[in-house]
Structure formats: C-alpha cells, structure tokens
Symmetry: C2
Subunit: 302 residues, 2 copies
C-alpha cells in the first residue's frame, strides 16, 4: 500500500517539481492538497493543513519558511510523517524543536536538499575522494526577476534573499565537504529590503572555499562549483547536473525530486529520519558574522 501524501502550498515549486515527482515514484500517492487559493483535481482539497491530516500518512511542506513552524508541529503532533522543501524552516532553533517532536512521536522528519540529488553530484564526490582539493570556488548567479518574480516573502526577514538559491550550492558543498566552516561574509542588502541581493562568502575546510552569490545577473544562469585539485581542475555545473574533470564528462537527466520522494518513502519504511541542517547553519553563520553593505534599492518590476 502506498504512502498517502498531502501537499501543503501549491505554488511554482509544487506544480513544477513535487506533483510530477510524486506521480513518477512507486510507493507514494498524492491524496490531498492544502492551499488557501488553489485547488487540484482528483484529490481532497483543503484550506489548511489541520483539515487534511485525516486523509494522509505524511505531509510535504512547500510553503515559505517563515510561517511553517505551526504547520509542521500540527503534522508531527498528529503522528504524521513530515517532508520539508528547502529551506526546512526559518530558524535553527525551530528545527531543533521539530526534530525533538518527531523523535517523541516516532515519526519521520526529512529535511530535503534537492540539489544534492542532482545528476552529477555523486560522480563529483567519487572523483574528489581520489585526489586532494587545493581550493574551491562557488559561483551561483541568476536573475531574481526571472526566478522569483513577485515573491515578497523572500525579501522579508527569514526569507534568506540570495541565500534562497545560494543554500542549494551550500547543500551540495556540505554533501561533498562536511567540515566546511564559515570564516567571513559580505552581505549586500538593498536599501529598501531586509535580505541580501548578493553575498560573498569565505569558508574553510583545510583549503579555502570562496562563494559568490548574485541575484543581479541577467542573460543566463551560472550555478557552478569549481575545484582546484592535485589531479587538475574540475567543475560541477548546471546546478550539479554536469561534472567535468580530466578524462571525465558526466551529465544526466534531472531526477532530483523523484529521488527525494523515493528517499522519504524509504525513511518512513525504515522508521528513520534525515534532518541535516548544515546548509542552514552556514547561512545563519553568514548572517551572524557577515559585514553588511548598503546596495541600491531593488524594485521587482523594472
């Protein structure tokens, strides 16, 4: 019998990724939706998460991080399993409370990091394990107007700003280099906003790691991590979909979300949880130690 999943938040990411991934994954079935302003044919439609709980074994939360804690607690307190779109929450302390509640209830909590499931991340990990890294440079650049049009929550406190895409890079980094630590950060915050539009990070893991996040780049995205190693230069590009190193060229189909739902299904079956907060911890550290710089005001429509 399939794991009955309810989806909360029927926005862009839910429609583009979650719905097709659930449909493509054995052993999981979408049985309900909770959304304040959207409906979906063929499943039970509810206004909020508490009304949905009777129809499901598990809930997948795709809502913005700021309002998510109460929804997540309602799910766990009802003894339902919980899957969280990235970022898993607005704060590290609320995640600690959720982890403790999941353990108390004996249910699965899964903080997902979809970029870790990109097609070439495993190939990069295998190749890097056989050499010595000298330095890493991350470039994560995109046009916020193209990728987050009208998303006001992303500019609010807790909305992360350019760290919303940047945390994808940090999720891949910490999958490859678990002991990366934040050393310093420069945060560029528009005069009329509360979150950074660009950030330059200095990390260390026995070798330097530089990261450059920029939301003001038009004309195409750059989502890549470049490795300087004893075995030569290597690059994980296209958000983790392609890996290039001396003698190697790997690329594959995007199955990120299907892999997440398969993993969630397996965690539930095994009675395990997976709640790695290392990417969010690095973001919190960047805010904690970052030097702030005033950037020009940013208007969404120009």
């Amino acid at each position: 019998m399939s794991l009955r999943i309810g989806l909360v938040g029927l926005g862009t990411i839910a429609r583009a990724q979650h719905l097709p991934a659930i449909a493509a994954t054995d052993g999981v079935a979408l049985t309900a939706i909770a959304s304040r302003n959207a409906t979906l044919e063929g499943v039970a439609n509810h206004r909020d998460v508490t009304q949905m709980l009777a129809d499901v074994d598990a809930v997948s939360l795709c809502t913005p991080p700021q309002g998510r804690f109460d929804q997540a607690m309602a799910v766990l307190r009802a003894g339902r399993h919980l899957m969280l779109e990235k970022p898993p929450g607005a704060t590290l302390s609320e995640m600690a409370v959720l982890e403790a509640e999941a353990a108390r209830q004996g249910v699965t909590i899964h903080a997902t990091w979809h970029s870790r499931e990109a097609a070439a991340v495993d190939a990069a990990r295998d190749w890097l394990a056989r050499t010595r890294i000298r330095a890493i440079r991350i470039d994560w650049r995109e046009d916020v107007r193209k990728w987050h049009p009208g998303q006001d929550w992303i500019w609010q406190p807790g909305g992360l700003g350019v760290f919303d895409p940047g945390i994808n890079a940090l999720s891949i980094l910490t999958a490859l280099i678990p002991d990366a630590r934040m050393v310093g950060a420069d945060l560029h915050i528009p005069a009329n906003r509360q979150a950074p539009i660009a950030a330059d990070l200095e990390l260390d893991a026995g070798h330097p790691i530089a990261a450059h996040f920029n939301w003001r780049v038009t004309g195409g995205e750059t989502w890549q991590i470049a490795f300087d190693t004893d075995a030569g230069a290597a690059t994980l590009s296209e958000g983790g979909a392609r890996f290039t190193a001396p003698g190697i060229q790997t690329a594959g189909e995007n199955r990120e979300y299907a892999r997440l739902y398969a993993r969630f299904r397996d965690l539930v079956a095994a009675g395990d949880s997976d709640c790695d907060l290392a990417p969010l911890r690095l973001v919190a550290d960047a805010f904690l130690t970052g030097r702030q710089h005033a950037a020009p005001a940013f208007e969404d429509h120009s």
Copy 2:
C-alpha cells in the same frame, strides 16, 4: 595529580574570574599562560598557544571569539582538553568542526556558560518545574561604556554586540526552557558599527518569551528574567544570583567560575564533553531572522 591548565588571553575576564577560580578549585592547577602582551608570575609564560602545549594537559580559551578557531584546533590536535569561555566561537559551523575533532582525539571539549552557574538558577529551575509558565520577560540592560570600554572586537562582525551580555540571559533561558525558539527580532545597529547596541527578541516555547537587550542604559544594571506563572510572579535577578517567588527568597555567593572549573575537571576525569550550543544558536537565529534598524552612531568615549 592536578589537571595542568594553560590559560590563553589574560584580559579582564581572565584576571577577574578565571585566575581566582582555578586557585580555589581542587584538582586543577594553572601551569602556563599564553598572552601577546601580558605575563604572570609563578607560571610558564608563552607568546602563543602552540608554545604552551608541552606544559599543560588542558587549555582554557579566554580570547575574543573571532580569532579563536585556529587556537582551539591546535589544542585539540595536540590531544589536549579544551575549555571555552563564552561565546564558545564565532560561528556554529566552526563549533561543529571542533566538536568532531575533540571526538576524534578522544579529549574533552567544554563550552562554558558561566551564568548558568549563578547562585539562584537551580532554585528557579526547581520552582518552575512545579508550576505552569504563562509568559517570560527578559530584561538585560547595562552601560557598554562601563562594561566593555575600548573593546573594539565586540563591535566587529562576529563580535555579537549587545548579544555578548545578552547570550548570558539566553544561556540561563535555555537551561530552564530547552525548547525555546526564535520567532523574530529587531536589531538596532549604530550607523558606524557592525553589531547591535540593542535588540528586542520574540521567542516561543508554548508560551511567549520577550527579551530586551540594551547597552545604552546608564545608572545601574538590570539583568533579570521575570516569570508569569500559575503560581504567581517570580523573578530571577542580578544575573541569576537572586530568585524571588511567592514564599521564596534565594540568593547566594557568586561561585560561577569555580563551578565551571570543577565541572571541567570532572568531565575530563569521566572522558565526557559538554558542548551545548543552544544559546549561540538563538543568537544566530536572531541575526538570521532579525529586522535591522539604523541607530545613532556610537562613540566609545563620550
């Protein structure tokens, strides 16, 4: 035989608290000092921590958090036990690396929170366990010119600003209420500084918790936590030294640092570590989710 301790950083807190506490504690002995610009009679004096390691079993770090990671790693890699004055480090990610290294080396790491050892904290915990809390209000107010004169590092990124004293309140709070989570924060940052001079925090633990940190208050300190409970109003004041509740008045001698060194000695003897990062996590969450407000420029000498 006593645990031979080396102290790094011979500033105000080391002279006022650490030296007398070590002298007053059985089973520990100060055998060395590392300081760039101060010396102490009767012990080995060194310029930096690496030169000191041959003379000691354990190191107590009292340096500012920003430059502490390399010192701490040198201590652990040499197989020496490590005790950390608060705040334990500049970032959560560096603390994760230090914890992993201590485990790898089989040595003790002790992140200390001296305010948790204040005379009346245990009495408050015992009394609160027998009632239901409705709300908590923290007021932590002092004059930065009196308590941190000329401490430039405290205003730098990673220096925490008003959270340097405020984290003492949060360390007591998390000792009493482990599941407190940050909901929102207002951070007041002087135009010429990188760290807040005042902060208003909203936390939650099933009941509201408000915290007000202010460094601009002259004419006396307020370091208190007020509890509204089903059994009436109670107050933990004087930084945790005094507890007042219906029918109860507790106050005692300040033995905070002697208790820390006794605990460190016992952790080493038992082969255990104690590295609770909950207070630093709440501070990181306040920066992560905080709304920033411009405050008037602050000059140290007025």
